[in-house]
């Protein structure tokens, strides 16, 4: 059986942000497993060690720090795949939020993304053909209780994603988005987790490999004609809303 070139990833070099988080860490593992040269960024160097021990190049990078982003973009490799897996949660009732709180969520989840992509493009560090993958949340479409700032930041990311897809169409860089529901990651372990009850998900509890598989698919050469798309990854839970 000959290898189908459409089943291969577009390139060799992958940038994964938020590698200290549940999704980011797993993405690093699976892209290394696919034979990629992976650069993993995060804010907590000690937490990046596991990625490093697996063979990823790790960079201590605070994406809310514009100067750090500029430096990083100047000195980094050019990437074929950029996966934006950074972000913070922001559960808080509406009556309890204030501008500082909201700004922190929006800055970490949205402004940082735009700043990073803009700097990478300016420094010509995203190859053509290439892939950019945003990770938002089903809350960008359906909302989530006591999570207004978070949902707003993720919905903003989706709008930015479509705009960027238009801008980069002529370069052969596709820009897509994965919108997951709650997925079993270390973040949820031990915590209160009615959100992860089996009965809420017709297709069972989501695992991190559901994210990594969707991201892998979007990075294939065969996914060249998919751009500006959002893959809703919800195990059917949003039918129950």
């Amino acid at each position: 059986m000959s290898k189908n070139p459409l089943f291969e990833l577009v390139g060799k070099k992958t940038l994964i942000t938020g590698a200290t988080g549940g999704f980011g860490g797993e993405l690093v593992k699976s892209f290394l497993h696919l034979g990629q040269i992976v650069t993993a960024t995060g804010r907590n160097l000690s937490k990046l060690e596991s990625s490093q021990s697996l063979g990823a190049k790790t960079v201590d990078l605070d994406l809310t720090d514009s100067t750090a982003i500029k430096d990083f973009s100047k000195n980094c490799d050019a990437f074929d795949h950029v996966i934006l897996a950074h972000g913070i949660k922001g559960p808080r009732p509406m009556r309890m939020i204030n501008p500082e709180f909201t700004l922190n969520v929006i800055q970490t989840n949205l402004l940082s993304t735009l700043d990073l992509v803009s700097n990478l493009l300016r420094a010509r560090k995203i190859n053509s053909p290439g892939r950019i993958i945003f990770i938002s949340s089903v809350s960008a479409h359906f909302g989530a209780n006591n999570n207004t700032a978070y949902a707003a930041s993720k919905a903003g990311g989706e709008a930015a994603m479509v705009g960027l897809a238009r801008d980069l169409l002529h370069k052969g860089i596709t820009v897509n988005n994965i919108a997951p529901a709650a997925i079993e990651t270390p973040l949820f372990e031990g915590g209160k987790s009615e959100i992860l009850e089996e009965k809420n998900y017709p297709l069972g509890i989501g695992k991190t490999n559901d994210i990594t598989d969707a991201a892998t698919f979007l990075c294939l050469e065969g996914s060249k004609y998919i751009t500006g798309e959002t893959i809703i990854l919800d195990g059917g839970c949003t039918w129950l809303f």
Binding site: M1, R166, L203, G204, T216, F217, E229, G236, W239
Partner: protein, 238 residues
């Protein structure tokens, strides 16, 4: 990639040409047990000469053909319904006959196939059903009221079936394309001004493979558009 499709029983409806023909070949190259159905059995026999697949002559608009397909086929792990017809109809020309021709083949017959397979218990637990819609986002070319209505109706149907069949972990999704390089498109194509160009037919298999494979285990009731960003408004239909 997609190695889990090896030895899976997968039915491709509308395999006599275009996207379905290519999908059957791609599935065959992955080692799947491919079942192909279409009206044109000569074309399917040609396909069978290229690789080992099971051939079913079936006019999906004829209920007796659909029932006998469902009765005679193996138990399936995947069904891709790729069949479809397209006719550009200016609004003043919309007539009962013209509309029926679009809606029956593009919407009613695919649902009839799913119903028939379910009644005969031919869909294994965990199976994946993939419909083929058209132009994923909100934008449609002119003169496609009947076609687009039927094709987007499939997406609504898929969302309901996704809930109905979730106890058996059967997933139902829709993939959609804009222009793919097939003879059907060559027949209707208006002049388009675009950047990326018409997708070579090989690329059209990939969204089906994703929706069939366990890579999309947690995805059901969704539509995935592989439309080269055309619906982002980068193309003018002239």
């Amino acid at each position: 990639m997609f190695d889990d499709l090896k030895d899976k029983n997968i039915l491709v409806v509308g395999a006599s040409r275009g996207i379905g023909w290519q999908l059957a070949i791609t599935l065959g190259s992955l080692g799947a047990k491919v079942h192909v159905a279409a009206r044109n059995v000569e074309a399917l026999n040609l396909l069978q000469k290229q690789f080992d697949c099971s051939v079913y002559q079936c006019d999906i608009d004829k209920d007796e053909d659909v029932q006998s397909l469902a009765a005679s086929i193996n138990e399936l792990d995947g069904v891709c319904i790729v069949s479809g017809v397209v006719k550009l109809i200016p609004p003043k020309m919309l007539s009962k006959k013209m509309i029926d021709a679009q809606v029956i083949t593009n919407l009613a017959s695919p649902l009839n196939i799913v119903g028939a397979l379910l009644r005969k218990n031919k869909l294994n637990d965990g199976a994946s059903i993939v419909f083929t819609s058209a132009a994923g986002r909100l934008c449609q070319p002119p003169c496609t009221a009947a076609y687009a209505g039927a094709k987007l109706g499939l997406h609504g149907a898929a969302r309901s079936l996704a809930i109905d069949l979730s106890p058996k972990k059967i997933r139902v999704n829709t993939v959609s394309f804009d222009y793919v390089e097939t003879d059907m498109i060559k027949a209707v194509q208006t002049t388009t001004v675009d950047i990326i160009g018409v997708a070579p037919v090989e690329y059209s298999s990939i969204p089906y493979l994703f929706m069939l494979s366990k890579m999309s285990r947690w995805i059901s009731g969704q539509m995935l558009a592989a439309d080269a960003g055309r619906m982002l408004g980068k193309v003018r239909y002239v």
